[in-house]
Amino acid sequence: MATGEGTARRLTGPAARRAVRAAFAAGAVLLAACGGGGRRTTLQFWALGREGEVVQKLIPDFERANPGVHVEVQQIPWTAAHEKLLTAFVGRSTPDLAQLGNTWIPELVALGALEPLGDRLAGSRVAPRDFFPGIWATNEIAGVPYGVPWYVDTRVLFYRSDLLARAGVQRPPRSWEEWRAGMRAVKALPGGEHYAILLPTDEWAQPVVLALQAGADLLRDGGRHADFKEARFRKAFEFYVSLFAERLAPPLGNAQVANLYQQFADGYFAMVITGPWNLGEFRRRLPADRQSDWAVAPLPAETAADYPGTSLAGGSSLVLFAASRHQDAAFRLVEFLADERQQARFYALTGDLPARTAAWADPALAGDPKLRAFRTQLEHVRPMPKVPEWERIATAIAEAAERVILGRQSVDGSLDQLQADVDAMLAKRRFLLDRAAGKGPR
């Protein structure tokens, strides 16, 4: 099937593809003609989850400002999006532009599915310096930009201010040791079974954030090899699993946390590391008499001098596809959505945090004290290793920690296995990089 596809692609060639596209274009023109319009460009825009629903409210303004451009938004659930993007690429039916989780960019760039944006950005009012640097960096592969940040996502500390105060913790922790001391104090509070912090054992974000804070690179040699046996990663890993060994965090996965909000309100745990989407959820779902008892702070750092600590540079970007025939119009839509006014409006509609720093001056954002923690944190974010295998590596990190937490392996045994597993995942990447390097000088 693999080789068959290759030859098919080679045989059909650009001429046939052009013919097919012409046929489609003719169809589109016919449809437009039926609608009574003249020559119109129809942009296919794939947007994910709730954003895909809400963005449709912004589109009419864009269409008014760009007569002749019609935008068709296709809403795709997050859980199906990755698969759909890849199958669309194989079936050569990618849209003109799409929203992507920024950790997917390396993978689609490796496929050659995305259009580099360097030239377009050079003549654009969208400039890299308008965005959070750590977030912008997720869109660049080997120095070439492939996406424009749309909204951002990072992890901060949500905590029960009343419980921390009762335990004698006066301010959100700034270093790991201060953090641990605070957790011990919360754990020592009287009452039924309770924990200081919730760290779902099947999530990779928490151990990875701690590793980034310790300065670990996770991979080395340009993503050719795993790097989990060096001291910085080990230190973070040991700190993470020790929180379970001390019973400061319950050894539960996400599936076993029936109702995060209920348990947070009950004081089953006093802290949780989570993202901006929970800001709205906590406001909606926590009982009214608990609303003054919680707060949000940037993450602690390994040492207080480095406070605030590093967190994930998450979020979604807007990308153009290499196969699109309407890249100029599509880029105008990207510029429109990245505009600070639209970003502020999008925040009002979704609660998604703007990627563009200027949009944070909007009163709705600037006036929210809980958002200040996010604003600070976003200045201290770092991208994940930009390799197509990242998602799989991240899962392996969570599993390595889980093995230690549930007492199946020692730290040494688990890290040895993690190193070997991830090295095996990167085997093909090493082969391709080495082959490309071998070809280079010739």
Partner: protein
């Protein structure tokens, strides 16, 4: 003589050609949607087709039995295989036994509202798996779950059903049996209803007790259904996927509920190691084939 023979020959050839024309559409469909994918699957299993190959097929390498060698050395695969056998060998017979028991109960002469019970027992089969999983996740909840509250009444400590690697698989089996037994029950009920009542009357006259009637009359009468139900249940249970997909976040905790199909899905569609996933599929196919042949042989031997 020769003319007649030739005639007959050409007529049968003509008939064969007509017959072929009639089955051609079906054959074409089977060829396109079954034979070609199966052959492609075999070929894929001998390559390292992955995410890089999706972008540039030229990066695909032919590696012969390399995938199978990796597979045999992967402890996660053996874990998945072990889990799958656990599920099939414990869950399968349990499911058939529960179905048979339920069929006997529903079919008993003393029971009223047979139609109601049949419907009630069949309802889980047609309920969406995701809805069932949501409810069962609450039943299994370590702190608030009904199951643990009942156990607490009996003085048994809380069990972390889906979070403890030892209990996760029993929990999945329990739910799967509850969800699926109704289907087989209906087949058994149909079988039971085809057994003439007069035979039982004759047996009672001859002094056969309830157990003897079940052992000597009901079971032999149900043999064809047992073969069918056994094979279908085994094949279905080997393909364990939805339960861990929705209940344990894809095979957790610590791969305790990871099945071969889940492993294949993760490799193929989550990590896009399509070649490796195809190799897993091939191994699963061989296992199911062997299991089916073994069951048919056993059933035949008993006749």
């Amino acid at each position: 003589m020769t003319a007649a023979g030739g005639n007959r020959f050409s007529r049968s050839r003509r008939e064969a050609r007509a017959g072929l024309a009639f089955v051609a559409p079906a054959l074409a469909l089977i060829a396109v949607f079954f034979v070609v994918p199966v052959v492609a699957g075999f070929l894929l299993a001998a390559t390292d087709f992955d995410i890089y190959a999706v972008g540039d097929p030229a990066t695909t390498r032919f590696i012969g039995f390399g995938n199978f060698a990796t597979l045999l050395h992967d402890p996660v695969f053996w874990r998945a295989l072990g889990n799958t056998f656990y599920f099939v060998l414990v869950g399968g017979p349990l499911s058939v036994a529960v179905s048979l028991g339920a069929a006997l109960l529903v079919n008993a002469r003393l029971v009223r509202c047979k139609g109601l019970f049949r419907t009630v027992y069949f309802a889980p089969v047609v309920t969406t798996m995701v809805a069932v999983a949501v409810v069962w996740r609450y039943l299994y909840h370590p702190r608030f779950g009904l199951l643990n509250q009942l156990l607490a009444v009996a003085g048994i400590g809380p069990v972390n059903w889906l979070g403890d690697p030892r209990w996760a698989m029993p929990a999945v089996i329990l739910m799967a049996v509850w969800k699926n037994f109704g289907y087989n029950m209906i087949i058994f009920v149909a079988g039971l209803q085809s057994v003439p009542v007069t035979i039982y009357e004759a047996a009672r006259v001859d002094g056969a007790g309830a157990w003897q009637q079940f052992r000597r009359l009901t079971l032999p009468a149900l043999r064809p259904m047992l073969v069918f139900v056994g094979v279908i249940t085994m094949i279905g249970y080997f393909q364990l996927f939805t339960e861990p997909y929705v209940m344990t976040n894809g095979g957790g905790p610590l791969n305790a509920t990871l099945s071969v199909v889940m492993y294949m899905y993760k490799q193929g569609f989550r990590w896009w190691n399509i070649g490796f996933g195809a190799a897993v599929a091939l191994v699963l196919f061989l296992i199911i084939l062997a299991g089916t042949l073994l069951q048919l042989r056993l059933q035949k031997g008993r006749e």
